[in-house]
Symmetry: C2
Subunit: 357 residues, 2 copies
DNA sequence: ACACAGGGAGATACCGCTAACGAAACGCGA
DNA sequence: TCGCGTTTCGTTAGCGGTATCTCCCTGTGT
């Protein structure tokens, strides 16, 4: 180890430096560093030692350009604060860890223009694949995705026409299922609490499916309210209090996510409301973060981990295929089935005095 | 718009394609696409039209290689599930949005070997700067960071020797401050609940500072317990119940994070324990997620947003400086002051019957 | 002793783009 | 009309690697 080892160099290190230090050609160094081709054990060790001694880190920019291979997978999600996407992400990373692929995430904040920009930005790094949340994209985004010539997996949602592959659940169906469960349990005066996000298509679809199923039973949402910003828990609490004050006849509240649902539940507990007999509650997502509440909120699992896993598998597989054959893989379509977790805030059978059909 | 516009091309598009389509040289196209140099409005529009028509997305790999400039900032954090890092991240993105820089995140799961690998991986893309959580890194990681010749900002923690710049709070001091507040309020039988993460140095330092301040007052932690995995809320609840059963004399519980603290609080409320008189509680982080609880948990703000902002500013600034002058910027050191949020679970003055010194 | 297989290493030609310089076209005053 | 500064655009030479081909050197079978 020489003295300059830890000196910050002005000129960045290149293969040439390592090659000079080890007395072999750049090509050989390159081969050693990638464990490729035939290199004798002797030179191999010599090169490795020189590289480590210099603190050389290969330049993937140059490598990617030369080899026309970039082992990155663009993952585009609407938000981080949501608690659901981090879970999808970790499932993706887990799968990708067993491959040479590496995820790179971009966040859109539910804004189509930002999505377009982020997508453009990521595609300009020529990733090997794209995993992107949702089926709704601007025309330009769709065009880019199609033109990229790489596997594209749209995740979370299956209600729509995918560009290539899709992995998710039907949020419309999820909304319907919950409505049906609620009706079956005998609740009739139903209120809805959601987020003020016209661009959260999945929340919208759940709501649509929900009202649709209610309509089929001759019911409709009695009262509804939407919020934006602030602590979801606190908002859930406030909005629940407000709605119950405004529409005291309500016997069920459906929340667009577990967090505001939990806030509502806390309000009910504090207010001494008899849940689930007097009032039922349900959220959406099945986040286990809330497992420690005094009462388990009814919710619906959104299959986050499974979605991430399957999506990553599709990308990994089709990258492999592309490497082997020439033809790109054909789009897969995977619709997962969300399951209701009844918890303790959704009673099982109609309460005495109800008249279920 | 020609018919091939939306046809998936086999041969990826290059500048040459755009240049041929618009009848100018590749150089001119390059200039147009980067809004650089002198190009007449006429050709500019022609080129732009051709690029859009073809659906051309520039290849940053080649661009970066040629220009020796990569506008990426590596952000390396231990975890996503934590809820604290996403907030740091969004502060970083916000600042970086006003610059040409773009964050790329890597996750280490609190494992030094993974950190080393992630760092290596990211450095091989030659980012313009690194923002990395913590001051504890393997020797190899430190060497890489030093050798990279780019601004490095270590964040979250200031208790240690930084490589370059550092932005954070002193967790040791944070622990001390909380201990002092607790003692001042007259609590004497103190229990600690934390995570089983020997590699979460910040949690460790908080605990050390905490016990140190207790020791100075002639006190020590009466009982302690650590958990790993599972829902933090549920764990907080369980562990609190267990500890109170085991050590009923306890009059204060200090939690290493707000989430288990909230779980503990929920247990206390359900168990009818008189908080904060009979038992006091405090957590750490100041996450507003929990604002909706029935009672506001005492906690300490960890300045997440501020840390992210300042760190991003340092990187942005020194990248600018590097572009202008030759000399790298010198390390900055920013220690933020966490503030206690007393909430409602930490009484203000000694309860009747206590004997404060 | 010679042809030949095959491992180990080097030479060469790019990958797609940009920095730097240079040249053409244009405008305008003398 | 010419000279000269501007503006606009093209040419050339890499950036730091990798694919591919070539070459050399061994050892081996006959």
């Amino acid at each position: 180890m020489n003295d300059e080892t830890h000196a910050p160099q002005k000129r960045p290190l290149t293969l040439r430096d390592v090659s000079e230090a080890s007395g072999v050609s750049e090509m050989t160094v390159s081969r050693v560093l990638r464990n490729r081709g035939d290199v004798s054990e002797t030179t191999r060790e010599r090169v490795l030692a020189a590289a480590k001694d210099l603190g050389y880190v290969p330049n993937k920019i140059a490598g990617a350009l030369a080899s026309q291979r970039v082992n990155l997978v663009a993952v585009i999600i609407p938000s981080f604060s949501n608690m659901v996407f981090p879970q999808v992400l970790s499932a993706i990373s887990e799968v990708l860890d067993n491959t040479p692929l590496q995820p790179v995430v971009g966040v859109t904040n539910y804004m189509p223009e930002r999505e377009e920009k982020v997508l453009y930005e990521m595609l300009s790094w020529r990733p090997s694949g794209v995993i992107i949340a949702g089926l709704e994209h601007s025309d330009a985004s769709k065009a880019m995705l199609r033109a990229a010539g790489i596997p594209v997996v749209e995740i979370m949602d299956t209600d729509g026409r995918p560009i290539d592959s899709v992995v998710g659940i039907s949020h419309r169906r999820a909304g319907r299922m919950m409505a049906e469960a609620i009706i079956k349990a005998g609740y009739r005066k139903i209120g809805f609490l959601g987020t003020k996000m016209p661009l959260d298509h999945r929340a919208r679809k759940r709501f649509e499916g929900f009202t649709e199923a209610l309509a089929k039973a001759g019911l409709e949402v009695i009262d509804q309210e939407f919020y934006a910003g602030g602590s979801a828990l606190a908002k859930g609490r406030e909005m629940t209090a407000a709605m119950l004050a405004r529409s005291p006849e309500i016997d069920f509240l459906y929340y667009s996510n577990d967090m505001i649902g939990a806030g509502g539940l806390l309000h009910c507990i504090d207010a001494g409301i008899d849940v689930p007999t007097e009032l039922g509650l349900a959220g959406f997502n099945g986040i286990d973060l809330l497992d420690g509440l005094s009462m388990q909120l009814a919710t619906m699992d959104s299959c986050r981990a499974e979605i991430g896993r399957r999506a990553a598998e599709i990308v990994a597989r089709s990258v492999d295929v592309q490497a082997a054959e020439t033809g790109g893989a054909h789009g897969e379509r995977i619709e997962l089935s969300p399951t209701i977790r009844r918890g303790e805030t959704l009673r099982l059978r109609p309460a005495h005095g109800d008249y279920p059909e």
